[in-house]
Symmetry: C2
Subunit: 294 residues, 2 copies
């Protein structure tokens, strides 16, 4: 696959998701308008759409269609978007900016941002329940999404992360946070793609392993870029982890080991792809995500 | 049905719910302990369990069993509990107390309360997806719960309510808030009871009408008690709506019309019960809820 072909598929997938994301928003009447605007504002705030793209492509790699998977892909982006809105709130990370634009509670207000996040989470499950898929697939999708975004998954990672801000986590503890906070929802993405296409359990297991390895590698690469990155390319200052005395995988393990581990995790992720057909795009996507310089 | 028999059934239903609520909590590891504690703290904070009791009793009134409905009943209480936690946060109602005890963010902290709420909402859907019910029932239950607790339901009501705090709503607008903020989740409760028992569409329609009438009557009764109530019985000061210049149904329409409308709505609710079998308990529960003096 050429770089041109890769970019074409990626653009196509992202366009597919972007075109559908807003169509799932609930109708808002007079008084509800502001929270619907806040949901929309955060949904279209130019994310990389990694999770929905992975879902669509795993559906294809399991012999299914992207269209069948589209509602599940959008539900994943709703959950990801809610998590960013709540993460940015003053009681959490207190971030005024999200991708260079005012974060949701800055653009609107805290109450609106809180409720917009709650609503996005709620509607993610509504989207799944109303997808054109068989009931058994929908039930498994609801279960997997809830498990991976709840206390045993993403929320669990956020909770432990908050705790570590006051303490001094070791490498193993940091890996747990990366696994839960980032890996779990990426795992849900790959798994929901599989589910929509009726994948077998060995494919599900491989998809989950791929996702966790990729998610953790992605987070460690984030840490590496905070040391080695180019501020102009990243669009944000480097060295902020060191300035904030924030323990990261790269600061604890050292740059060399961090880079070695990214490579190991990526190799491990890619080796899981043997369980699927036609995975050239997914492989390139994984490599680009972990080898990125921005 | 004697008062003694009524109280026995009610106690039995509440015990059934209380005994199961915590069993659905996800396992928490080291770092996640605090958020799991916060979920538990808020779940067992002595609510009236109106929603789960209605679910169980509508299941029975449709010829089903309370056991089949129990997971759905607990999921409803998870959603209700999350909504109270988020409602109490400083950016919303900023309430330090909930039923005489510190609200979740006071007992723990804001970040923990935010995440505990998010987790309760998430796990409500997980509980449904893992219930021992057929897949088609579970899909309808997820859809109904999401619709009624999202922007078109409970969250929509909270949004409009926030707006009215700055403005001067008329009677029709207030009714919309009561319908969405309280009626929608009570409607979900009655409907989930029906679903678990395989009710037909005419029973579903009657259950929903019952729920909305009851929910609105319940809210108007709240307004009335703020004027006529006995502080000792209520356990909170009366006249707070007037002190805060808060527009309520009773202050806008006047006490007499408010009382008449509670009666009308209650009669309307009870008339819907003809669609079901053996509804003596539900009828008495409705009457007690709207005729309460505390």
């Amino acid at each position: 696959m050429t770089d041109f072909e890769f970019e074409n598929i990626l653009k196509n997938d992202i366009r597919k998701v972007d075109n559908s994301l807003l169509s799932y928003l609930p109708d808002a009447k007079d008084g509800q308008y502001q929270v619907a605007e806040a949901m929309k504002y955060s949904l279209i705030n130019g994310g990389k759409r990694i999770r929905p793209v992975l879902a669509l492509e795993f559906a294809r790699a399991c012999g299914g269609t992207r269209n069948d998977c589209l509602p599940l892909a959008c539900a994943l982006e709703y959950v990801h978007t809610y998590s960013l809105i709540h993460d940015d709130l003053p009681c959490m990370d207190n971030d005024d900016l999200r991708r260079g634009k005012p974060s949701c509670h800055k653009q609107f207000d805290e109450a609106t941002a809180l409720l917009a996040g709650d609503a996005l989470l709620t509607h993610a499950f509504e989207i799944i329940s109303e997808a054109e898929l068989s009931d058994d697939k929908k039930v498994i999708a609801v279960s997997l999404l809830a498990q991976n975004s709840g206390v045993s998954g993403m929320i669990g990672g956020q909770v432990i992360d908050l705790l570590f801000e006051q303490g001094s986590p070791n490498l193993k503890e940091l890996l747990t946070v990366y696994k839960l906070k980032t890996g779990a929802l990426i795992s849900a993405a790959c798994l929901l793609g599989c589910i929509s296409a009726g994948a077998d359990s060995s494919q599900m297991a491989a998809a989950s392993k791929f996702a966790y390895s990729l998610g953790i590698a992605f987070q460690i690469q984030d840490d590496i870029l905070d040391i080695t990155g180019d501020e102009k390319k990243l669009g944000k200052p480097v060295g902020s982890d060191a300035t904030n005395s924030k323990k990261t995988y790269a600061t604890i393990a050292g740059l060399t080991k961090a880079q070695q581990d990214v490579k190991k995790l990526t190799d491990n992720a890619i080796s899981q792809l043997d369980a699927f057909e036609d995975t050239e795009f997914i492989k390139l996507l994984a490599l680009k995500l972990v080898n990125r310089d921005r």
